[in-house]
C-alpha cells in the first residue's frame, strides 16, 4: 500500500471517528438507550454505586429521556436509583434526581421524601413497562383509569388531582404539593377503626404522563407547583 493510500485510510478513520463521536454526543443530549445513558452516567461520581446495580439488570431496550428544562440554573444530575429485573425481564423503574447544590444526593442517608422536600430535588422516574408495548393502550387510557379511581376515592385523597394534557399532546395527571396525613389507626375489638392520632405529612407535587412513543410512564415529583412540573414534563421530549 502506498503512503498516499495509508494517509487516506487514516484520514477516513479519523473523520469517521469524529462523526461517530459527534453523533454519540448529540444522541446523549437527545435520547439514548439505557445502556448508553448508563455509560455516560458512569462518569458522574454521584451515580456510580447505583450504576453498578442497574448495569447488571438492564431489560429490553429502554430509552431514557431527560428533562431539558429544570426550575433554576445549576440543577444537575446528583443521584440515580434503579430497580430492574435481570435478563430482560420486564418491570422496574429508574429514578433520576436533580438538585442545585454541591455534592451527591442519596449517599448520606437521605431518602426520597427528604431529598425532594428538604433538599428541593427534582425526581424524574421512568416506569419500565411489563412488555415492550407498554402497560397502557394510550395516554387517554392511562390518565382516565387513574382519574376515575381518584374520583371514586376522592374523600380519602389529600392531593387535588387534575387531568393534564402536555404541549406535545401526551396525556397525564398531576397535582400541586399538598399536606398528606400520617395516621395511627387502632383496630378496636369490635372491628371498627379508630384514628388515634393524625399528623401532617407534607408531600411533593407530581405529574405523571404516558410517553406514547416510548410506551413508558414518566413521573416528575418536586416541591413545586404543578405548572412548574408541567414545564419540566414537557421538556422530556
Amino acid at each position: 500500500m502506498s503512503m498516499n493510500g495509508t494517509f487516506i485510510i487514516i484520514a477516513v478513520l479519523i473523520v469517521t471517528g469524529a462523526i461517530v463521536l459527534t453523533l454519540i454526543v448529540a444522541n446523549i443530549k437527545a435520547t439514548q438507550t439505557m445502556d448508553e445513558e448508563l455509560k455516560v452516567l458512569s462518569e458522574n461520581p454521584c451515580v456510580q454505586n447505583a450504576l453498578a446495580i442497574a448495569q447488571k439488570n438492564i431489560p429490553f431496550d429502554i430509552k431514557i429521556r431527560v428533562p431539558t428544562y429544570l426550575p433554576a440554573e445549576g440543577y444537575r444530575l446528583a443521584g440515580i436509583t434503579g430497580v430492574l429485573e435481570p435478563g430482560g425481564s420486564p418491570g422496574g423503574w429508574v429514578s433520576l434526581y436533580y438538585w442545585d447544590k454541591e455534592g451527591c444526593l442519596l449517599t448520606s442517608g437521605i431518602n426520597e421524601h427528604d431529598a425532594i422536600m428538604q433538599y428541593k430535588a427534582v425526581k424524574v422516574t421512568i416506569l419500565i413497562p411489563h412488555s415492550p408495548d407498554g402497560d397502557y393502550k394510550n395516554g387517554d387510557e392511562f390518565a382516565s383509569n387513574y382519574y376515575s379511581y381518584y374520583l371514586e376515592n376522592k374523600e380519602e385523597f389529600k392531593a387535588d388531582v387534575r387531568l393534564v394534557t402536555l404541549s406535545n399532546g401526551y396525556k397525564g395527571y398531576g397535582n400541586d404539593p399538598f399536606i398528606g396525613i400520617g395516621k395511627w389507626i387502632k383496630i378496636k375489638n369490635d372491628g371498627d377503626e379508630e384514628v388515634v392520632q393524625e399528623e401532617p405529612y407534607p408531600e411533593p407535587g407530581e405529574i405523571k404522563f404516558f410517553h406514547e412513543k416510548d410506551r413508558v410512564v414518566y413521573i416528575v415529583r418536586a416541591d413545586m407547583p404543578l405548572v412548574e412540573l408541567i414545564k419540566i414534563a414537557e421538556s422530556i421530549k
Binding site: 436509583t81 430492574l84 418491570g91 389529600k158 392531593a159 398528606g180 400520617g182 395511627w184 392520632q197
Partner: protein, 270 residues
C-alpha cells in the same frame, strides 16, 4: 369511599385487655415524632415484579429515646412509591417505657401513610418470632393482604387496594437513628425464611428471597460484623444464608461501607 376492608381476628382478649387499656392511655398521651433516621433494609434485588413477600421477624427489645418508634417489617413497594408492609413496631412511652405491637404499614401517594395496629396484639416477648406477609389477593389485583402474626395468639390482617399497584419489589426493613448519632440506638432484629411470591396461572407460588442487602447509610459484610447471633456489634449482615439477615447496633462511626447506596427500595414515608 375507601376500599380498605378489615379482617381482624381476636384471640386472648381477656389476657390482653389490661395491656390494651394501657396502650390506649399511652397513645392518647404520646406524641410520635419522626426523627431523622437511617433505614437498614434488604430487598430482593433480583425480582422487582413480584406479588408478595413473607418471612419471620425475631424481635428484640431495642434501645432508643422517648417519643420515637421502630418499625420492622416485610413490605412491597412499587415505582410509584406505594408501599404495604407488615411486621412489628416498638415504641416508647415516656411513662410506660418500651412497648410493641403487630403493625401494618401503608403508604399511598396522594393520601399519606398509616400505621395500623389492633388493641389486643401487643406485648410480644423479647426474642419472639413473628410471621409477616404481604401478598396480592388475586392475579393482577390491586388489592393486597397484609398479615402479622405471633404464635397463633395474636394476628393482624388488613387488606388494602391501591390503583396501579399490581406488582412490586419485596423487601425487609429495620429502621434506626443514624449510626453516627449514638450507639445506644439499637435494633437487634433478625429476618429469616424470606420468600417472595408469584403467580403461575391462578396458583400462588413462592421462592427463596435471594436477598440483596442495601442500606441507606452503610452496611458491611466484613468478618467482624458477623456477630449477630450474640446480639452485639452488628450492623446489617447475612447470618446463615441469603434468606436470613440481621440488623443491629452500628460498629461504625464513619461512613466506610462496602456499599453505600439508596437503592430506591425503601418503604416510602417511613
Amino acid at each position: 369511599m375507601s376500599r380498605s376492608r378489615l379482617e381482624y381476628i381476636k384471640r386472648g382478649q381477656l389476657l390482653t385487655y389490661i395491656m390494651a387499656m394501657v396502650l390506649s392511655i399511652a397513645l392518647l398521651t404520646n406524641t410520635v415524632v419522626y426523627a431523622a433516621t437511617d433505614t437498614y433494609l434488604a430487598v430482593n434485588g433480583a425480582n422487582v415484579s413480584e406479588v408478595g413477600v413473607s418471612g419471620n421477624i425475631s424481635t428484640y427489645t431495642p434501645s432508643f429515646g422517648n417519643n420515637d418508634h421502630r418499625d420492622y417489617m416485610l413490605y412491597i413497594v412499587n415505582g410509584n412509591g406505594h408501599t404495604i408492609g407488615a411486621g412489628v413496631q416498638w415504641w416508647k412511652h415516656p411513662y410506660y417505657g418500651l412497648m410493641n405491637r403487630l403493625i401494618v404499614y401503608i403508604y399511598q401517594y396522594g393520601v399519606g401513610h398509616s400505621h395500623i395496629f389492633a388493641e389486643d396484639n401487643s406485648a410480644i416477648p423479647n426474642g419472639a418470632s413473628i410471621t409477616a406477609s404481604v401478598i396480592q389477593r388475586a392475579p393482577n389485583s390491586t388489592c393486597w393482604d397484609a398479615k402479622a402474626k405471633y404464635y397463633g395468639t395474636k394476628e393482624l390482617i388488613y387488606m388494602k387496594c391501591i390503583d396501579g399497584f399490581t406488582t412490586g419489589i419485596p423487601g425487609a426493613v429495620s429502621r434506626t437513628l443514624s449510626s453516627q448519632y449514638n450507639s445506644s440506638n439499637t435494633l437487634k432484629e433478625r429476618f429469616a425464611n424470606l420468600n417472595y411470591y408469584y403467580w403461575e396461572g391462578s396458583t400462588l407460588k413462592w421462592k427463596d428471597f435471594n436477598t440483596t442487602i442495601a442500606e441507606m447509610k452503610c452496611f458491611s459484610d466484613v468478618d467482624e460484623n458477623y456477630q449477630s447471633r450474640i446480639g452485639t456489634n452488628w450492623v446489617i449482615t447475612y447470618i446463615n444464608s441469603y434468606k436470613e439477615f440481621g440488623t443491629g447496633p452500628p460498629t461504625y462511626t464513619t461512613d466506610n461501607c462496602t456499599i453505600d447506596i439508596d437503592a430506591g427500595w425503601d418503604p416510602t414515608g417511613e
